[in-house]
Symmetry: C2
Subunit: 119 residues, 2 copies
């Protein structure tokens, strides 16, 4: 396996930051300019620009090339790739949920037999 | 928003590496010892140990405390959290898929009208 940065690794690195995920959540409500994005996070422009570059490189956002107003928009394709990857593990968390339910049923029936014994 | 490492950021950082994702895929096929994990990746033990520590800290794997044979196992709970987060964006990639289909239909009907014109 190559250790070079594959698309999924680049996407996950970009998403592994709460500010960048909050920027995506904001863009999920509609396009926004860089200064509109900087404001709610109380971030200086160089800081927000750095975060936006990471998101852009991952293909998670694009920035329109309109002259003055250059809004950023969410690009969902890399998120779909994350979803497809994580879906491959669904059976594991569903299985562990079933194990918990089974354990709970066992504990409940144990509790009941103890109650019966007392009678 | 706190910049401290939240669980989701820790999980995504752990997943943002192809070797660590390959280790999870291997553990998805069943428990394995550290040396069993090191072998297929041609990694030295210190390197694999470092990767396993990152996965352990994220709660993605646990290591049994049996005396000699200490197998690692996959823990799916953090993966479920990733899935729940990314599901929030499903409507965006589904919408963009619909836009592509619409575009395709437009191109096809354009092609058809050009064919009609030629007749």
């Amino acid at each position: 396996m190559s250790m070079a940065a594959d698309q999924l690794s680049v996407t996950l690195t970009a998403l592994a930051d709460p500010t960048r995920r909050a920027i995506l959540a904001r863009l999920g409500r509609g396009e926004a300019t860089v200064s509109e994005l900087a404001e709610p996070f109380n971030l200086k422009l160089p800081t927000i620009s750095k975060h936006l570059k990471v998101l852009q490189r991952a293909g998670l956002i694009t920035q329109a090339r309109k002259a003055q107003w250059r809004p950023c928009r969410l690009e969902p394709a890399p998120l779909k790739e994350v979803e497809e990857w994580v879906e491959g593990y669904r059976r594991f968390w569903e299985a562990s949920h079933e194990r918990l339910e089974e354990l709970l049923r066992e504990l409940q029936s144990e509790g009941q037999s103890k109650q019966e014994e007392k009678k």
